[in-house]
């Protein structure tokens, strides 16, 4: 289960049809639950563990987990984007709860909460 969505933190980006996490997944794996308006993972087995969805979530509602076959519970890795957008601090927690932090330079670009899709919404293929 490489990415889990914390439903208590996800606000669906305030009714956005096409929120950043859905846009940033290169595998088309995140989708909106039409009933709750929150994000769902289509199929964890298709996830590449690349983390753009985790980094882009304004609520820090998406958490990266290694598949259990690859690593033990409850190690965690949480990226925090600085308000200045030019640094990212990765919080690394090992299986015993030990915390390490890595702050790295970057250049995070601002991102809209919604974006129009090309074409017309003609066919409803929602599941």
């Amino acid at each position: 289960m490489p990415v889990i969505i914390h439903a208590d933190k996800c606000n669906g980006c305030h009714g956005s049809n096409n929120p950043p996490c859905i846009r940033m997944c290169p595998g088309d794996l995140l989708m909106k639950d039409s009933k709750t308006g929150k994000i769902l993972m289509r199929d964890p087995a298709e996830c590449w563990d690349c983390l753009p969805c985790v980094k882009v979530c304004p609520q820090e509602a998406i958490e990266f987990r290694l598949s259990y076959q690859l690593g033990f519970h409850t190690a965690r890795l949480i990226p925090h984007i600085h308000d200045t957008r030019d640094f990212i601090t990765w919080e690394l927690i090992d299986t015993k709860g030990g915390i390490d932090k890595f702050t790295i330079r970057t250049k995070i670009l601002p991102i809209e909460l919604d974006e129009k899709v090309e074409g017309v919404a003609a066919v409803d293929f929602s599941i």
């Binding site: 590449w48 753009p52 970057t106 003609a122």
Partner: protein
Amino acid sequence: MEQNIIETDILIIGGGTAGCLAAVEVRERFPNLRVTIMEKAHIDRSGCLAGGMNAINAYLNPGETPESFVKYVRFDSCGLIREDLVLSMSELFEYCVKKVEKWGLPILCDEKGNYIPRGRWNIKINGESLKPIIAKAAKNAGTKVLNWVVASNYLVVDGRVAGAVGFSVRNGNMFVVKAKATIIATGGAAGVYKPNNAHDAQHKTWYCPYNTGAGYAMGIRAGAEMTSFEMRYIGLRVKDTIAPTGTIALGVGAPQINSKGEKFMATKYAHIGGDGAPTPYRSHGPLQEIKEGRGPVYLDTRHITSQQARDLKSAFLDMYPSMVLYWAANEIDPSKEPVEVQTTEPYIVGGHTQSGYWVDVNRKTTLDGLYAAGDVAGGAPYKFVSGCWAEGVIAAKQAGEYAQKNDFAEIQASLVHEEQDRAFAPLLSFTNKKDGIKAYDMEVRLQKIMEEYAGGAATYYEVNEERLLVARRRLATLPDQFKHIIAEDLHELMKAHEVIDRVYVAQTLVEHMLYRKETRWPGYCTRTDYTERNDEKWLNFVNSRRDPDTGDIEMLTRPYVQIVPGDRYKPR
């Protein structure tokens, strides 16, 4: 079915590393030309760069020249490369790197402002956001971007590529993009073989699992000449995470050791450079150790300081964050114990190895109006990120000139309808029949055939004529099964085409492996019936062309041309 018809001067298929640079270059050189990118995901984070990059691995550090680069790449590829292509891309490394730095990519510099090398051809970057940075430049240049449009086939009119057709995974619209010139930049192919990890980690691959050979397959179906598929890429990677090892081997100088602690590369492969041997040997060497009972194999990092271990983790966070979590989740400290390594599933790529479209020095393919750049273009290995950028720039220039001189081709409605029927068939099959084959089923079938008969990891990547003939026969049945594929939704429709495309790639690959009767790249493609390299007969490129009418694959060779003088098996 909603149909969107778009006219554009230049169509770029694939908005990744090469595609974004190509878009900017067209708009800068030819401001009058309209450019459209067709991208199956969203260009902000699509393709190989989604997770980021921590180094530019093809760069001419002070003292190096395009000629010295060619010598090294030729050595690394066991004496056979398209020297014209490698020369022309290396001449543009500086141009591309400076350009992307100007767009905002943080490149690590020393106190004098010089880039910090990491090995002979590498410089360090903080490239976590590399992809959004180049995507923004493409958008700012005035490119029209069709996100979530999966390209399914070219529009071919009298042998000329006149655009492409695709479908949206968001709304099921069909997109017919008519173009004066087309640049294909869809990357290579993962998932042709059984992946290293299974179940919920099946996509824990090194190469982007969403690069599924669409550009190769479209070219194969249209009769484009392809080269060097038999030079599969099988990388040495960190065990389980399949993370790149260059960050470790080059970053802190870690030699390979076997379970006895022996530095086998340094001793057994000293004559070809030891731990600096050509890349295929750096996979072949450890495979032999494991085969002969001296595994596991490691990169020996026990000499590094705890600060170096932290720097290593920081470098991985810029590119492959799961590596760092893996160490924490398994209580591994790379400064105290060596890092176990393994080899990957075989990938078909033109950026590490040289599988792809046969192109001229202008990146023109054998199809009129079609140019290729990046992993999908053949003949020029060792491209990595900056070489893909360079090829995007070269293709943009040539495609732009072609578009200035040629008008749109007349496209018959029947051509579009035919492709519409083919593209959407799995959805209709589901509606009508419900029963059939899911994309996943065919993927597993394909991977099983390739793994067992076409040199998968379980057979140490070894092949022989008899096994390959079994693979050929089994694969030949799959195209007849395409009509049974069903897709319940648009995501599954995309997956259906991903596996269909990989079947075309696999069939071509098997023909290439059968045809080259030598072992030029041990580790990448070891033939147990022709174990030696044979420069007398095989110092040439193995190419293929599928007849679009009959489906027959014709094999041919193209000569190697040496441009840069010197011993082809020496790195300098």
